[in-house]
């Protein structure tokens, strides 16, 4: 590739990144402005009123350390939703990985009859529109008592998450040599030590990627939480939607920033696993 072409490619990437980031910049400005309307290029007046209304920043005059503490301790809806989203996300991530680990090992290492069919069934939630299964599921959940509570929401989040986690982890095991475990066993490692010292380091990078998928799918889940949670389990996406429909752009922007921020943070810390040599191609590498 000649140098000019290389330069053009790099500019194209910058342009793409700029297009992706532009709305975020607008969000930021909007969240800290007061009545920013067309045709103003920049807002006339900056303001924290959106954050005050979300009860994240105290009213003017009460912005002391104690003021902040008192406000946050009053358990504002945003913080409640944020904590719900975070805890549901972490919980279903851990559960999905524990369920997926043995399944992925079998799918990645063994060949058996109807394997393709089983994989197809496992992947089907990604093809099926959620509305198609969640309404039926909701009837069952109501009769089992899972509807309108935290447990039911966690359970239903697993439906769209499992395909991603199982498939990502199957990829790891397709590239995995179980003889390493046998070798460790003959060298005196018991089953627990073999898992911790041999298996886990080999699958960890791929597992981080799977966890990332799991968390982000759960984090952005709206419809399933809305229907199964029956409005009683408030997560951030639900709050974003209801705020957006209220028609206050500054408020919508502020809550969207809160919604985006943790996802970006997590992506930032796991990005080295997603790109490059490790990531989904972990295992032991080809030997």
């Amino acid at each position: 590739m000649n140098n000019n072409l290389k330069k053009i490619n790099i500019y194209a990437i910058y342009l793409g990144a700029f297009i992706l980031i532009l709305p975020l910049i607008a969000f930021f400005i909007n969240a800290f402005s007061f009545r920013w309307f067309y045709p103003q290029v920049i807002p006339k007046e900056l303001s924290l009123q959106a954050w005050v209304r979300l009860k994240l920043i105290p009213k003017p005059g009460q912005r002391t350390f104690d003021g902040f503490i008192e406000l946050w301790a009053s358990n504002p809806a945003v913080i409640k939703a944020l904590l719900n989203s975070l805890s549901i996300g972490f919980l279903v991530t851990i559960v999905s990985i524990i369920i997926a680990l043995p399944a992925a090992r079998v799918l990645g290492l063994l060949n058996f009859r109807f394997k393709k069919l089983i994989i197809f069934i496992m992947v089907s939630p990604t093809i099926l529109p959620p509305i198609a299964f969640v309404l039926g599921l909701n009837i069952n959940f109501i009769s089992w008592g899972f509807s309108g509570n935290y447990f039911g929401v966690c359970l239903v989040h697993l439906v769209p998450i499992m395909p991603y986690v199982v498939l990502t982890m199957t990829g790891i095991f397709a590239n995995y040599n179980p003889d390493f475990e046998h070798q460790a066993r003959t060298l005196g490692a018991n089953k627990t030590k073999t898992f911790l010292l041999i298996t886990l380091p080999a699958i960890a990078p791929g597992m981080v990627v799977a966890a990332l998928f799991a968390f982000l799918v759960s984090w952005s889940q709206y419809l399933l939480t809305f229907l199964i949670g029956a409005g009683k389990v408030m997560t951030l996406p639900l709050l974003v939607f209801s705020t957006a429909s209220s028609g206050n752009p500054a408020l919508t922007a502020a809550i969207s920033i809160i919604f985006i921020f943790p996802a970006i943070l997590i992506l930032f810390f796991t990005s080295k696993f997603v790109s490059g040599e490790s990531g989904a191609t972990s295992g032991f590498g080809k030997i």
């Binding site: 046998h182 003959t186 060298l187 005196g188 030590k193």
Partner: protein, 351 residues
């Protein structure tokens, strides 16, 4: 110093129509270097994996020093296996790899460091302790794998195809190293190979296995001179086979009566087969042998350097003979020749 007894060992896999290991009995003495020899898929690696405990046998027993291994978990058997592709743990450096078994035993770190150093010197690889397995050549990886296996003084050392992944020149070097270390440490060792030359050069005793069945278990020399059956003889390059019948302390064949001195005469069936190594047959243009001498016709002469190979037709039988090229009589194709089968060099076996 441990001796291993394998008793009536049977193992089947659903994917195979015959047992992978079919009723194998073996007694391996303490400190012996034994080869499991056979074509690939004959079940030799399966036996190793049963000794380590990675597979459970369907029936039979594996006894190490009078104690059955079957109920003991892999990590407590004191049996260490070196896999064909070495399997050095990629996330650990050489020191950590070699010290792994001692770390599992909870040995003090200073002692581990000391032992690791000793082992790396034993395999002639000092000063590479901090490297990662990826940075080592195949031969170096093999040595590190050997050091890692030996550090905990295993009762049995198992080597799966230890030389097959190495280049020819490294193979000789590695073979010498294995023999030297084995004699030094006196560890009972079993290695698996499909290469009969490798087995002969390395092993004290060879277990020949075909299709999951043990054919013979004896010294390399006996495979050449006193094979147990025609399959074993053929695997070790035997070419001359003559059908024979017992006849008054001798053997009668289609080419005539053959005098026989083998100690197994009473064990022979009525119908049996005589074999003789090509290099033990003697040829002469004049009939100057007293006994076991038969008249034949030279079919072909092939010069192959130090030796010259002859094919001779005796009546309806074709025999192959290999003589040292130095000081040969002038023998050409279509010459009439007398073939001598020395009575102490021929060996009869049951079919």
């Amino acid at each position: 110093m441990s001796k291993l007894n394998i008793k009536n060992l049977i193992k089947s896999f659903p994917s195979m129509d015959r047992p992978a290991v079919n009723n194998i009995n073996l007694d391996i003495e303490s400190g012996e270097l034994v080869a499991f020899l056979g074509p690939s898929g004959c079940g030799k690696t399966t036996i190793l994996k049963m000794i380590t405990g990675l597979f459970q046998p369907d029936s039979g027993d594996i006894i190490l020093d009078e104690q059955s291994l079957l109920k003991i978990p892999t990590e407590k058997r004191g049996v260490v296996m070196v896999f064909q592709n070495y399997l050095l743990f990629p996330y650990m450096n050489v020191n950590e790899n070699v010290g792994f078994a001692l770390k599992m035993k909870g040995v003090d770190k200073n002692i581990i460091d000391q032992k690791v150093k000793e082992m790396l010197e034993l395999v002639k690889l000092p000063d590479i302790g901090l490297r990662k397995p990826k940075q080592l050549s195949g031969g170096q990886q093999q040595r590190v794998a050997l050091a890692r296996a030996l550090i905990s003084n295993p009762r049995i050392l198992l080597l799966d195809e230890p030389l097959s992944n190495l280049d020819a020149h490294l193979r000789d070097e590695m073979r010498d190293l294995i023999v030297t270390i084995q004699q030094k440490l006196k560890v009972t060792t079993i290695f698996v190979t499909h290469d009969q030359e490798e087995a002969v050069l390395l092993a004290d005793k060879i277990a020949l296995i075909f299709d999951g069945e043990l054919q013979n278990f004896t010294s390399p020399k006996n495979y050449y001179e006193k094979p147990k059956n025609i399959k074993a003889a053929k695997f070790f390059g035997g070419v001359n086979f003559i059908n024979a019948k017992k006849d008054n302390n001798n053997l009668s064949t289609t080419i005539g009566t053959v005098h026989y001195k083998g100690e197994n005469y009473t064990d022979l069936n009525e119908d049996n087969i005589i074999t003789i190594r090509p290099e033990n047959i003697k040829l002469s243009k004049n009939n100057d042998f007293n006994d076991n001498s038969f008249k034949g016709l030279i079919k072909s002469v092939i010069f192959s350097g130090t030796h010259t190979r002859y094919k001779i037709i005796v009546k309806d039988l074709e025999l192959e003979c290999s003589l040292q090229s130095v000081g040969l009589q002038d023998i050409k194709t279509d010459d009439t020749i007398y073939v001598h089968l020395p009575s102490d060099k021929i060996w009869a076996m049951n079919e």
